[in-house]
Symmetry: C2
Subunit: 219 residues, 2 copies
DNA sequence: CGCTAATCTAGAACAAGTTTCAGACTTGAT
DNA sequence: ATCAAGTCTGAAACTTGTTCTAGATTAGCG
């Protein structure tokens, strides 16, 4: 069997079959391949941190990560794929960070709101990066669905963690879905300068009330 | 003063100052200019109805509407501006349609959910058009803020109409904001094939509960 | 060690959004 | 009717995402 071959055959066009779980999905990569992938994601995040979505130019990413343009496209079939993967990367990081200091709130709603606001503050520190990732996420078409879905699952996991709810009811899951919707959309409006930070905070707190509504006494 | 001049000087780069109300914002256009604008919007919607966002190619729009490419850009400074304007157009239409048959629901929440589902069904009839408009809306950057904001106001108006609430409380307005967030984000997930129609329905109904939560007895 | 299949590279080529420019055309004012 | 100022047109040019190609390189296998 060939060199860094069959392995990254999956890297290129992730076979539909294997687009499910988190990391264990794609087959193991060569060390060098893993390194390339890291360099690419790093370059992506770095460029994004500067000028946001537009600053992440494929040629620049390729150059920064010392990889040929064609190779970049083999790893990430489009700019959107690349940025969504960058978001996955950052999200994992954030989930780890959040886990360390569990939210203090009394109610589940408070804890979720607190967690999301913490995440929001993190994004505020790198607004350009946030811009690139969120724009990519909402602009993604069907061809990126598996990756976007993965981001969504990760977000859900973070919220459920904050709720401290082991076995959420279907109603609670609906509430979580709506919270995610609000979270994404609120970020978009903030990033495009149509809503203030305070406004985002209010929106998050408002939507989090749905948790109380669906948790204790189900009306 | 020159011909179709000073008039469309505003057409080009809508002076920041006049980006507020609905239609009365920009100064009156020449008849021919108004006609050009209509042709452009019509071509845009037509192309979008076919192949969605990607099918709306500026050169094609220009050709279809019998306008030079440069002129198209004078009227709409970017593809995003064009599609957002197309959405404004469609939204107005829809608001008119919705007004004719007010929702029947007992509670405000039911009426809002019913209205949004009606709008949703309308979008389902032209999924490609919906795709183009929604993608443009969420991808828009700061340079399109005024126009996007206009769309947002129009959406708010539709929801408040459905609520039948003349003087909404700040809390209710927050709920409406969250409903809009959910509405947009749910559309995005549906368009990208990550949520079913049924799922969107559930999300809408879920978020609409916030209205009941903020209307009668303020907890 | 040498083979073979696949990867990686460098660079050209293509596609669509956006910009630019010179010249023809309109329109309102004089 | 003429004029000045601004608009519209047609076409080329530029930018950036994406694709394609030929050849150099790499990795596992016999």
């Amino acid at each position: 069997m060939p060199a860094e071959a069959k392995v990254s055959a999956k890297v290129n066009k992730p076979a539909k079959v294997e687009a499910r779980a988190a990391a264990p999905a794609s087959p193991p990569l060569t060390e060098r391949q893993e390194a390339r992938r890291r360099r690419i994601l790093h370059a992506s995040a770095q460029l994004a941190s500067r000028g946001g979505f537009d600053a992440v130019q494929m040629r620049e990413v390729a150059e920064s990560s010392q990889v040929a343009l064609g190779t970049l496209y083999r790893y990430f079939p489009s700019k959107i794929h690349l940025l969504v993967a960058t978001m996955q990367d950052q999200l994992e990081h954030m989930h780890g960070t959040l886990r360390k200091k569990p939210p203090q709130g009394e109610t589940a709603a408070e804890r979720v709101a607190e967690t999301l606001m913490r995440a929001f503050r993190a994004l505020q520190r790198e607004p350009h990066l946030a811009d690139a990732m969120v724009r990519a996420l909402t602009f993604a078409d069907r061809s990126v669905s598996p990756e976007v879905d993965q981001v969504s699952r990760q977000t859900t996991a973070i919220i459920l963690d904050a709720m401290g709810q082991e076995n959420p009811t279907p109603e609670q899951l609906s509430a979580v879905r709506v919270i995610e919707h609000t979270w994404h959309s609120a970020l978009v409006t903030w990033l495009s300068g149509r809503a203030s930070i305070a406004q985002v905070k209010i929106d998050i707190e408002t939507v989090c009330r749905l948790i109380d509504l669906t948790s204790p006494t189900t009306p």
